[in-house]
């Protein structure tokens, strides 16, 4: 209804990112493209959508993902050994887009994007209806590197909040597009202190912007997703790695459906 109303009144219709936050607390899930195969990635995305995942982040593999733990690096290296390239990632997205309209965002380190060419990369994102891009090693200070070309192609750049300082959080939130990805320093807080810190961050964010915010707490079980949903608009989770043989013997579908449906159910209860 609101979609149509906006249309009639001449406003830009609700973006796919905005729509991802219309179904209760949002579940945002990440997977590396091409691990273990291209086909598995496409199938995973469709299964996750079916299980209620609201927004899917697709990682472009990089040889040295220093912002992630080694487990993610291994996933990236498996995908690279499978011949995954930026062009191959776009080919995967093209296939997904033929079957699904699920909100998609890309996650990358800057170097593969730089090499592909910023203009070429973001125009391809625009063509394939990639809704946003998050770049692991592009903090606020360096965002001009891609901000103009991203805007021109109507692709949101997702900002990360990892600071504990109001000034920086305000600075980032004020100029943020799409949604905010909060990654607190979980090691620095225990128990209730983490919850208090997140609440404080959300208050600071809300003073600056209305765009949604999700929390990334290295979530492995639905219980952990509750805190993210309690304080913010959604939770960020990793799609569990499923080895090639599970895909081959047909066990993969059930695993993904069950894992993601459990997460989404927990979020719905919040």
């Amino acid at each position: 209804m609101s979609l149509q109303l906006h249309g009639i009144e001449g406003f830009k219709s609700m973006s796919r990112i905005q729509s991802a936050f219309q179904n209760g607390k949002a579940l945002v899930a990440f997977l590396t493209v091409g691990d273990p195969t291209k086909e598995a990635t496409i199938r995973s995305v469709l299964l996750m959508e079916q299980a209620g995942v609201d927004l899917i982040q697709l990682g472009i593999p990089f040889s040295d993902p220093t912002a992630e733990e080694t487990q993610i690096q291994e996933s990236n290296l498996r995908a690279l050994r499978n011949g995954m390239t930026v062009d191959e990632v776009f080919a995967v997205i093209k296939e997904i887009r033929e079957k699904s309209n699920v909100p998609l965002l890309l996650y990358s380190y800057l170097n593969p994007v730089f090499h592909y060419g910023y203009e070429r990369f973001f125009s391809r994102c625009g063509e394939l209806s990639v809704d946003a891009v998050e770049i692991a090693d592009l903090p606020f200070e360096e965002k001009e590197e891609v901000s103009l070309v991203a805007k021109k192609n109507e692709v949101d750049i997702i900002s990360v909040i990892a600071s504990s300082k109001q000034k920086r959080i305000a600075q980032i939130a004020k100029e943020a597009t799409g949604f905010l990805h909060i990654i607190p320093a979980i090691n620095a807080y225990t128990g209730i202190a983490l919850e208090r810190e997140l609440e404080k961050i959300m208050v600071w964010i809300r003073k600056e912007t209305k765009i949604p915010a999700i929390v990334d707490l290295d979530i492995r079980i639905p219980e952990q997703a509750k805190l993210a949903a309690w304080v913010a608009d959604g939770a960020f989770v990793l799609c569990p790695y499923i080895a090639l043989d599970a895909w081959e013997n047909g066990q993969a579908d059930g695993k993904i459906l069950q894992y993601m449906a459990n997460m989404k159910n927990t979020l719905q209860e919040c």
Binding site: D64, T66, P112, I161, I172, N187
Partner: protein, 394 residues
């Protein structure tokens, strides 16, 4: 020019997770850099603990043998811990102490930076953990044990190519999880701003001393200064005092491995292209898809796919020149210096000696050049023996 940039190079291309800490480090460094008390403390340590100033030695036999320019060696190998790395480590750990940190972490390739960090951590009573590629812990086993003797915990990094690049990856990961009480003592003029500037400033004492000493000895500036480059800290430390002296050639010698026409090298300037990695825009060895390439060198300290951003700028602006030196040339220079001058230098430094052997004979006898001997070669003796097919027990 943007903050932390050298022309188009440099910057702060790093996870947002580290930005609070980098901004804090930048502010603290700016404060202490202009604090006379901090400088006095550092000068005292450099003098009484590291043994500075290091000698500028006239290599007379080498000069005669090569028959061209006079060759001087800047003896960073004579510093405590055996390399130039101590200059930067004393500065950074003193800074870390002032910042209230209790623990330091560092990456290391050949182990020289790890040893220097473990040493100064012991001196300051700080906890210390060193990350070193598994391949390097094997080929530089002596340095691993030295670090452990000094009380450091050494982690053998088994991810990726298991060399210096991966040691940096792991140290960055560890830092993102521990910066509240931990300082990352980055060992070269690389990484996100402010590290390239901090490390260059602490290493610039090499060039400052050299410039004064050569003016005293020769009454004029050298025609060229030479240094090996991996990340490029001893080279930047040597070059910085001479950047404005446009008649002094600045020459960096990088790891040509088995040759730059083979896949086995770490020649970032000869074969790399611009890219963004480890927090900086610079030159990197990488494939056509922007994936960081595995690199190779006999020298664990030069076995890195990138180079500090200020070097990238100096090269592109035409101020400095960089040449690849093969393993064979470096090993020959290592052996040559031992026999000609009775100095066993690090295999890293031998890359600069190799270029001096090529350059000096083409120059006039009234000219002089300075080669930075960044480290001593005790750690390399076993590896050189293996290279020559001699099996010895360390």
């Amino acid at each position: 020019m943007q903050k932390g940039r050298f022309g188009q190079f440099g910057g702060q291309f790093i996870s947002e997770k580290l930005m609070d800490e980098l901004l804090c480090l930048e502010a603290q460094y700016q404060f202490y850099q202009s604090d006379p008390g901090f400088q006095q403390e550092l000068d005292y340590l450099l003098k009484t603990y590291a043994g500075r100033p290091s000698l500028l030695y006239f290599a007379e036999r080498m000069t005669k043998d090569l028959g061209g320019a006079k060759i001087y060696l800047k003896r960073e190998d004579l510093n405590h811990t055996g390399s130039h790395k101590i200059n930067n480590v004393l500065g950074q750990i003193l800074l870390a102490k002032k910042m209230g940190k209790k623990r330091v972490i560092a990456e290391t390739g050949a182990g020289q930076h790890g040893v220097a960090t473990a040493t100064v951590a012991a001196l300051f009573g700080m906890e210390c953990e060193i990350f070193m590629g598994k391949v390097d812990t094997d080929r530089q086993a002596l340095n691993v044990y030295r670090m452990e003797l000094l009380g450091a915990k050494v982690h053998a990094v088994t991810s990726g190519t298991q060399t210096l690049k991966d040691a940096v990856n792991e140290t960055m990961r560890e830092w993102a999880n521990s910066f509240q009480d931990t300082h990352y003592v980055l060992g070269s003029v690389m990484g996100p701003h402010p590290f390239p500037t901090i490390v260059r400033d602490f290493q610039s004492i090499i060039g400052k001393e050299t410039r004064q000493e050569i003016l005293q000895k020769e009454g004029k500036l050298p025609a060229a200064v030479l240094a090996c480059v991996g990340g490029g800290s001893n080279a930047m430390g040597m070059f910085y005092a001479f950047v404005q002296d446009v008649n002094v050639r600045l020459i960096g010698c990088e790891a040509g491995g088995k040759g730059v026409d083979t896949p086995l090298h770490a020649a970032t300037m000869a074969r790399g292209v611009p890219g963004i990695f480890h927090g900086m825009k610079s030159y990197f060895c990488q494939d056509e898809n922007g994936q960081i390439a595995p690199v190779y060198s006999i020298s664990a300290g030069l076995d890195y796919p990138g180079i500090g951003p200020e070097h990238a700028f100096l090269r592109d602006s035409g101020r400095a020149e960089y040449f690849p030196i093969t393993d064979d040339q470096a090993v020959a220079a290592f052996e040559y210096l031992a026999r000609a001058e009775g100095i066993i230098c690090a295999i890293e430094s031998a890359h600069a000696v190799a270029y001096a052997r090529f350059l000096a004979p083409q120059m006039r006898k009234d000219e002089c050049i300075v080669v930075c001997l960044s480290g001593r070669g005790d750690k390399d003796v076993a590896a050189i023996a293996r290279y020559r097919g001699v099996q010895i027990d360390e």
